[in-house]
């Protein structure tokens, strides 16, 4: 069994906690509860015949506490940047967060997801901005924690990438 620490990054109320809950316990709640500090959740899955246990660190999304986040980030094998499609501002926040993460963690795999795909009509983030992100080399997915869309794919993809980045012993790279 291989364990990996993953950080959920993203602005306030973008749906980090919802994504983690959907992934771990397959539930979604409309109620918004501020995550205090950090919540660590665990989910095991099999990737390329390997048992992988993901330790998901769900940080609170207050952007003014950047300094705090660095110590939580440390030791992550990968991270997920969450944006709220209905708020353009969360994309700008995502860019800043990615820079912080890259500075702290170095070039570890990460995946960006634009959440709330179930209300696509209300989206502020347009295709042009998304393409710009992809041009930067980001993997950008769309998903909905509410409907469970793209959630498993998100975590499985990151797990795969992480395994590739640091293969477990006994597996040829």
């Amino acid at each position: 069994m291989i364990q990996k620490k993953i950080c959920m990054l993203g602005g306030f109320a973008v749906g980090k906690t919802s994504l983690v809950r959907r992934f771990v316990t397959n539930v979604f709640s409309d109620q918004y509860r501020t995550t205090i500090g950090v919540t660590v959740e665990r989910k095991s899955l099999v990737v390329d015949d390997h048992d992988v246990t993901l330790m998901l660190w769900d940080l609170y999304g207050e952007d003014e506490f950047q300094r705090l986040r660095e110590s939580y980030l440390r030791g992550s094998s990968g991270y997920i940047i969450v944006m709220d499609g209905t708020r353009q501002s969360t994309l700008d926040g995502a860019l800043a967060l990615q820079q912080t993460a890259a500075r702290t963690l170095g070039p570890v795999p990460f995946i960006a997801i634009i959440n709330k795909a179930d209300v696509r009509a209300e989206w502020e983030i347009d295709d042009r901005s998304i393409n710009q992100l992809r041009e930067r080399g980001w993997t950008v997915l769309f998903g909905s924690a509410k409907l469970g869309q793209g959630v498993d794919e998100l975590f499985t993809l990151l797990a795969t990438q992480m395994l590739k980045a640091s293969p477990p012993s006994g597996v040829p790279s």
Binding site: M1, K4, V40, E41, R42, M55, L68, G75, S77, P168
Partner: protein, 589 residues
């Protein structure tokens, strides 16, 4: 022998020539090898010369150490004593330098140790304060008083109980669990999540207080549990402890952590999420699962209370037994003293009592005596066989119940002789003479002082009675009083006789006056005199079968035949018998 044609000595004629050849050879060799020769000489010199060699060794020494050190330990083993003695010499020579060098390292360590000591002191102090009001503390106070120790010491002794329930070995940077051990008693949730959260909490605490990386959250409390965190460079230990662990436990954790670090330096440094290699730390971590239980000494206080209770019980039992025994013997004495009761057997065993004896039906009820003595009548089992007692008092009672003597008769016992005195009807006297000797306990009967009277006699005695009065007076004189006493007894007997025959006695009391004085006054006098006589006879002598008539005065006065009687200052009595219910007609002839 082999032939050697090139040997110069083989040809003596050519000895000169051969020596010149040798010289040539030497010259040639010098010519050819001169530079190398010089180098060789230099090398030999260098090998023999100490100074040169030391310089050379000095040049390669660091690399040599590096090469050796990479592979094995003999080098350090060899060097250790020299380093040690060198260090000692250095300390002796210039301690100041050493102090300066280690002060920055020792300072924080010492500070931390002191802080911990203080912390555990305040902890125990707080505990003793907390406990000072509980029931437990009362017991401990007694303990302290008994053993002569200070209360704080006793409290500390009692609280020094702990059990390490879980130990986590956690990778410091990632917060991933490397290994986890737990006792059977431990409640293990998700140890992986807990590891992450523990790490997150530490980060959070550190960040929140703006502390530096090496200032760490060493301990926190959750209900009964204390979580101790022992930090290492790559991994840390978190121990979930129930109770109050001693500070020495931390040293054990420290040792284990150091040992793991030493053994797994590489694995830790290269850790990428595969915790499998850390399975080998199991035994190491298990040594941390220490427990210290207070040996359950028998509670002396409890024993004391028990002894006390037993003693009290024994005293109580003894007291009640003694009391019951006293009461029992008193009851037996009482029973024996009671006429008509004879105790033939008495037993008392463990609160149960047994009585056997004879009882005259007329004797006092023995169960009453039992209750009076303070016994529950149900615990005293008694078997009484009936018998006739010959005690005079009982014989008398028996005689009275059997003979029904009239009130005018008094029965007494003189030895075994029943004696009757007073007066009674002929019938009663006759019957008693026949039956008295048959009463158990009565062997003889005497009635020579008993007056017998017939109804006629009684009537005569009453009817002959004339009570005289002084002029204008209605009081009875002493002699008349005596006469009226006899009349009373006679009336009484008559009443009984009437009762026997189913008749009624009618008594007419007739008052008279002389003809002097006013008529009204005389009527008044007549009435008063009749009443006075009646009072003198006494109401108690008038039985329920007797009717008294006093107001016949008027009718008598109007009757001419009564004139003679009517002119005298007297009261006359007239008694007669009548059939019950018909006295009214008979009373007025």
């Amino acid at each position: 022998m082999s032939r050697r044609p090139d040997n110069p000595q083989s040809d003596p004629s050519s000895s000169d020539r051969s020596s010149s050849v040798v010289e040539d050879w030497t010259e040639l060799r010098t010519l050819l090898l001169a530079p190398e020769q010089t180098q060789l000489d230099e090398l030999r010199d260098r090998l023999d010369g100490q100074v040169v060699q030391a310089r050379d060794v000095g040049r390669v020494l660091p690399e040599a150490f590096a090469v050796r050190g990479d592979h094995d330990e003999p080098l350090s083993t060899v060097l250790a004593p020299y380093v040690e003695s060198g260090f000692v010499t250095a300390v002796r020579k210039s301690p100041r330098t050493i102090v300066d060098a280690i002060a920055p390292i020792m300072g924080p360590a010492i500070r931390q140790a002191i802080a911990r000591a203080l912390q555990s002191m305040t902890q125990s102090f707080n505990r003793s304060l907390d406990e000072s009001l509980s029931v437990r503390s009362l017991r401990w106070r007694v303990d302290a008083w008994r053993t002569g120790r200070s209360f704080a010491e006793v409290v500390l002794l009692h609280t020094l109980r702990y059990r390490v329930e879980q130990v986590f070995l956690i990778h410091r940077e990632t917060g991933l669990l490397l290994h986890h051990v737990a006792t059977d008693a431990a409640v293990v949730q998700d140890e992986h999540v807990l590891s992450g959260m523990l790490t997150a909490i530490q980060n959070y605490a550190r960040d929140s207080f703006g502390a530096s990386q090496d200032q760490t959250l060493d301990q926190f409390q959750v209900g009964d549990w204390t979580v101790w965190v022992e930090q290492g460079s790559q991994a840390y230990l978190a121990a979930v402890i129930r109770g109050t662990p001693p500070t020495s436990l931390r040293e054990d954790f420290r040792d284990v952590l150091d040992h793991i670090h030493a053994k797994h330096t590489d694995t830790l440094a290269r850790f990428k999420g595969d915790a499998a290699p850390f399975k080998t730390t199991q035994t190491q971590l298990e040594t941390c699962l220490q427990a210290h239980y207070e040996t359950p000494r028998p509670d002396p206080l409890k024993a004391w209370i028990l002894v006390g209770l037993l003693l009290l019980g024994a005293i109580w039992l003894g007291w009640t037994t003694y009391q019951n025994q006293t009461r029992w013997s008193m009851l037996l004495t009482e029973l024996k003293a009671t006429p008509g009761l004879v105790v033939t057997a008495a037993k008392s065993t463990w609160g149960a009592y047994y009585l056997e004896g004879l009882r005259d039906p007329l004797a006092k009820d023995p169960s009453e005596l039992v209750a009076e003595a303070g016994f529950d009548p149900t615990v005293v089992k008694a078997v009484w066989s009936p018998y006739y007692a010959l005690n005079p008092e009982l014989v008398l009672v028996r005689a009275e119940t059997m003979l029904h003597p009239p009130d005018t008769v008094k029965l007494t016992m003189e030895g075994d002789t029943l004696v009757a005195t007073g007066s009674a009807s002929e019938t009663w006297v006759g019957e008693t003479r026949r039956f008295a000797a048959l009463i158990p306990g009565v062997s003889r009967y005497r009635d020579e002082k008993l007056l017998t009277h017939s109804v006629a006699e009684l009537l005569d005695r009453i009817n002959q009675t004339v009570v005289r009065f002084g002029p204008g007076v209605s009081t009875v004189g002493p002699s008349e009083q005596r006469v009226l006493g006899i009349v009373g007894v006679a009336l009484r007997s008559l009443d009984e006789a009437a009762a026997h025959t189913g008749q009624r006695v009618v008594l007419e009391v007739l008052g008279s006056t002389d003809s002097t004085g006013p008529a009204a006054r005389n009527a008044q006098l007549r009435k008063e005199r009749a009443e006075t006589v009646l009072a003198s006879i006494g109401q108690h002598h008038i039985g329920e079968h007797t009717t008294v008539i006093t107001d016949i005065v008027r009718s008598a006065a109007s009757n001419g035949s009564q004139t003679e009687v009517g002119s005298r200052r007297i009261v006359t009595l007239r008694a007669f018998l009548t059939t019950a219910g018909a006295e009214n007609e008979t009373a007025r002839p």
